[in-house]
Amino acid sequence: MIKEFRLPDLGEGLTESEILSWKVSVGDTVSLNQVIAEVETAKAVVELPSPFAGVIKELHEQPGTVVEVGKPIVSFEVADDAGPSVSEPSAPSAPGSSSAAPAEGEQPAAQKRQPNLVGYGAVVESSGRPARRPRTLAPAGGPAASQPPVLEPVGTKPAETPPGDTGPAERPRSTPPVRKLAKDRGIDLALVPGTGPRGLITREDVQEFVRHGAVPPEGERPAAGAAAGAAAPGERETRTPIKGVRKHTAAAMVSSAFTAPHATEFLTVDVTPTMELLATLKETSAFSGLKLTPLTLAAKAVLVALRRNPSLNSHWDGERQEIVTYNYVNLGIAAATPRGLTVPNIKDADAMTLDQLAGALAALAETARAGKTLPADLSGGTISITNIGVFGIDAGTPILNPGEAAILAMGAVRSMPWEYRGEVALRQVMTLSLSFDHRLVDGEQGSRFLADVGAILAEPGMVLTMV
């Protein structure tokens, strides 16, 4: 027999969760409590243990989909002697259905009582109106169970259709502004399918109706509240809910861009000596096995330059009206991860030797890519680097990581004709873009810092003059 597993409420009062990944495929045999999926709720990423022992028949939802609590996400083929499941509300042996007996088998499944279980929270996709009988038809206090089920036609009709025994049809469920919109457009709301909670007709439903000029068949419409983002073929726009890391990034960027006045400076440098140094270091035993990239040396250059220009490593504490200058550097590195942009930082990077720094950068990137960055690694940064060069980009205006005073963008290293010892030669050239918070860093300090970083990358030996 086939058993469905509906998405439970995994926290306290959650209405939806995102399927992150399936740990099983169709056809796999699974045991009870075997982990079948990883799911992210608003509260945590959790693993889902299988409620059945059996064979996976169907995975109803793709990874990346936000699923409403109560929707089937996976079907199992299980042996017939398996016990009743909460996911099978129609199971005749389901406990607690004592008074439902007369109606058994006559109601369509969707209208049958969902186990008001715990995990499933509110009933999803209930009919537009409660199955409530007018008081006049039932003597007060009369035993409701004695009424024959045929008096209850509501369960046998589509959700939008008002019950026949309640007199005149009720007007479609909507809100006053949407009714006004429909009226202005000359649309009869009774023709518009509602996708809101309990069939509510939303503004989008009316606009959709106007765009298409007709009601799309039921099957082609996204189910109420189902995850947007999966574009139907031919659709001209894709709507993706703003959530998770994207939401967080947006809030951080807006707050940073509109509280800290940004100034950006650019410097293009001949980094050929740096590239040569990298090649030399890769040959030395101390760096064998370590990942060395232009970022490694740029990070070191930033750390050296910060010692001479500490104001770039600071924080504007508006609440206490103080400028906090850090005597340590937690170096943030912008990382593109599968879940979006994160800026983990390397704690006390200024105290690290170059090989330690190279190791920390490699570990940070690997952890971030795996999505395993700890919350502690994402907070407490004091200055950041973003390596836009990996995308083949030369320069840009980076936005400060909130609370920090400076961010350096590294451009791509390109072979370009460049002035070299009085002649034009083909050199390795990179552009540095530095944004700083102009409230606490003046053009002078910003420029000196950027010039120092550039000088080191143009001639690593210059470090000798700076430490």
């Binding site: 243990p49 409620p51 109606a103 715990v118 995990g119 409701a144």
Partner: protein, 395 residues
Amino acid sequence: MSTDETGQDGAEAPGGTGETQGPAPSGDAGRALVQLVAPAGERVSHPEFDLWVKDITDEQLCSLYEDMTVIRRIDVEATALQRQGELALWPPLLGQEAAQIGSGRSLRSDDFVFSSYRENGVAYCRGVDLTDLLRVWRGNASGGWDPYAINMATPQIIIGAQTLHATGYAMGIQNDGADSVAVTYFGDGATSEGDVNEAMVFAASFQAPVVFFCTNNHWAISEPVRLQSHIQLADRAAGFGIPSLRVDGNDVLAVMAATRVALDRARRGGGPTFIEAVTYRMGPHTTADDPTRYRDANELEDWAAKDPISRVAALLERKGLLTPELEEQVGNTADAVAREMRKGCTGMPDPEPMDVFKHVYSTPNSWLDRQQDHYARYLASFGDPEGAVSDEGAR
């Protein structure tokens, strides 16, 4: 990472003095934990506390191991049931098995337990029906069991409130002239609550036979214990004039010895005792919590090395008792318990709508009767009572 300045960590050297401290202030220098079994399973001898577990036979040691394994299995199964939508919530006890079994197994059947929501292992010791254990977490009833049937109150959700109930019950024992004891379980966070402090004031004033068993699992949801107290929790008791013990909460024998010391004092009319069992909540606060958001993975690793079950297993191994037969038997018991609990959970009949009026008052109440009557009439106005409840009645 788990180590901090106030010495709350449980990693202290074994074999400390660990003597029962009187009301004298002990400062924050930190006292050693009572420990009888080191993390590697080595039996550490202790001049005072050895006497309290001298009677524990090899067979009993094996059964402590079995109980700890079984309650861990109960915990894992209940967590899975929550993820499968069968329970609304579950507060895992992973890592606290020794604290619960060591204390729970030391009680007499006429002692009375007032616990928090995490002492499901203690409830197991009291003989709770496995289905009753889950009733509340399934949202099926407001109370899981008859407290007088197993002499354990249903779990208290309000932090620390049960300590007042325990003190009150203990004062009742005094009036009865009995020698039973009220035992109350609460966490490190609860020691910051007014209720717990009031309960300790009363217990000391009346010298009531109550044991304050504080499970210091290091985290009050996301609040680390070092923010709650700048001194060891056990040392707070001195301020109330209550003697206290600080015990390695991952050492089932040490917990048992400490609990027996406290129970003995209470039975002899010596008044309350405060026990701080230093352990670690290895799982989330509840199934709705994500501890990786606030605590370091290294900390968990440190405590995994002090796992209470591995420790008893190592002790049994040293004694040559950890046979494949024992492991099989323990595994079978755990499997059977998990199966029975799952069956009881998924097969639990749904409550009837009118059940909500049961057990509100023990005597008739006209106001409640009126509400009950109105609700019955409201339900009757629906054609299909089932649909009525799930569609609208429940809102």
